[in-house]
Amino acid sequence: MNNLNNERKNQLENTAKAVRRHIVNMVTDAKSGHPGGSLSAVEVMTALYFEVMDVDVKQPQKEIRDRFVLSKGHATPVLYGVLAEKGYFPKEELTSFRKVNTLLQGHPDMKEIPGVDMSSGSLGQGLSVANGMALAQKLNNTGKKVYTLLGDGEIQEGQIWEAAMTAAHYKLDNLVAFLDFNGLQIDGDIDNVMSPTPLKEKWEAFNWHVQEIDGHCFEEIFAAIEKANETKGKPSIIIAKTVKGKGVSFMENNAGWHGSAPSEEQRQQALKELE
């Protein structure tokens, strides 16, 4: 992970681009879904599944493994895109996203979808679940980690702060949370809807190890995870500054693309930009 040579970096960037194309295609085919907050999390998710996490595509349920909880459950397109690229299920399956009788539910369903470690969708619940998994990993001395991805709007839910207390209280240093800080939520700018700032200070006050990074930069993501893993006695949060809709010019920094689907024309334009 330390030595991200140019070749590996190129591979990861290509994977990230493929995932972005999946996101655009899935949401367009389904005529619904959440492209903005999926595109913002592409590098973090790609880094986790293609470089960081100890998981086995052939045995998704292997007992001793790293686990991931998509707390911002609406970002399914990025999760499914990454899981399909990784090989948990055929990429063709992505066209069935959000359609009746499909595997790929609008929000993640751990009972049906290979590679999904937790069902989620009702915001604010994932960090508690990740804590529970981290406690179990500690009890079993697996030495494995739990990763979770939170939305910046999501942390307006009070349960997040209950869970933040619990993780620090139980010294869950095998837990790494990413905060996808793209600054926009459904009703607009997060600072206008309900400001969560100062963020770093809040998490530090809750006794977490806090880092702030560029969430689109693989080197910074890997360095932050390494530092998180070196931190003992505290849970870690990595505040990843991102761009909502990243990679598709007309979606970038536009709250309107939180939960709407591109037209056929817009799909073509987006795919051209993501070649």
Partner: protein, 312 residues
């Protein structure tokens, strides 16, 4: 075994016993461990006991994560908080993924007493049984509660276990064998079926005794598992008696009475009368005074039996 015991006491004892045998059992509480009786487990197995503090949503979510990673968590708090405050977590983080979480809810019903309406869970059965994948069990006494906890460890899936604060008389003896989903005929009869759960089972037995003097031969069923309900037993009993009275320490809306009506209206329609709290909030008072004021007594059951029999 003493003649009286609160079901929460039996829960606490069972946890300690079972925790010895099964290392996967973990217990969570929300700052009520002395009241929910999980403190004993905490003392014995401190590394498998997690006090989450006064944070019920986080309590349930943490339990879900422990279950997802292979543990058998018992998440314990008062019934009103377990079901009402953490409803969304129970629904989405536990029941939708069908995780092996046992929601052990103490201080259910009006017999929590003096704390009054805010602490009296009278709609918890309605909330829990409306969620797919949830099993709902209401033990009648200490002996049954002990066995319910044993069964909960064996059963793989979400379970809501409704426990009480007050001591209740034993209606079962040491030879009792609890079976999840199977109702128990405590007294056979031919004129009416009294279906009861929890503290009302004892009242149902007393009512049946009193009804003998009126020439009414009542069948009494302890239907400890409210979901899935023992349809076969219910239908076969009613085929014989042709009338039903339900008795529960719960709002008459959405609880045991409603569950019984759902089955009978579709399979064996007969007159049904319900004993329960009549769609109102409770108030402060001793458990006994409240049971009497809100009509949760053997006398009230007997009265409804007369009504039901007349409607045949």
């Amino acid at each position: 075994m003493t003649k009286e015991m609160a079901t929460r006491e039996a829960y606490g004892n069972a946890l300690v016993q079972l925790g010895e045998k099964n290392e996967d059992i973990v217990v969570l509480d929300a700052d009520l461990s002395k009241s929910t009786k999980t403190a004993g487990f905490g003392e014995k197995f401190p590394n498998r006991f997690f006090n989450i503090g006064i944070a019920e949503a986080d309590l349930v979510g943490t339990a879900a994560g422990l279950a997802a990673a292979g543990k058998i968590p018992f998440a314990s708090t008062f019934a009103i908080f377990a079901t009402g405050r953490a409803y969304d977590q129970v629904r989405n983080s536990v029941c939708y993924p069908r995780l092996n979480v046992k929601l052990a809810a103490t201080h259910a019903g009006i017999t929590v007493g003096e704390d009054g309406a805010t602490h009296q869970a009278l709609e918890d059965i309605a909330l829990m049984r409306a969620i797919p994948n949830m099993t709902v069990v209401v033990p009648a006494d200490g002996i049954e509660a002990q066995q319910v906890i044993e069964a909960a460890v064996e059963y793989d899936g979400p379970m809501y276990i409704r426990l009480g604060r007050s001591k209740v008389p034993m209606v079962n003896d040491e030879s009792y064998k609890f079976e999840l989903g199977k109702g128990v005929v405590l007294k056979e009869g031919s004129d009416v079926t009294i279906v009861a759960a929890g503290v009302m089972v004892n009242e149902a037995i007393k009512a049946a005794e009193a009804l003998k003097a009126d020439g009414i031969d009542a069948e009494v069923i302890n239907i400890h598992t409210v979901k899935p309900l023992d349809k076969e037993l219910l239908i076969s009993s009613v085929a014989k008696t042709k009338a039903v009275v339900t008795a529960e320490e719960h709002n008459i809306m959405g609880g045991l009475g409603s569950a019984v009506c759902e089955v009978l209206s579709q399979n064996q329609p007969v007159p049904v009368e319900m004993v329960g709290v009549n769609d109102t909030f409770g108030e402060s008072g001793t458990p006994q005074a409240l049971l009497e004021k809100y009509g949760l007594t053997a006398e009230a059951i007997a009265e409804k039996v007369h009504k039901a029999v007349k409607r045949k």
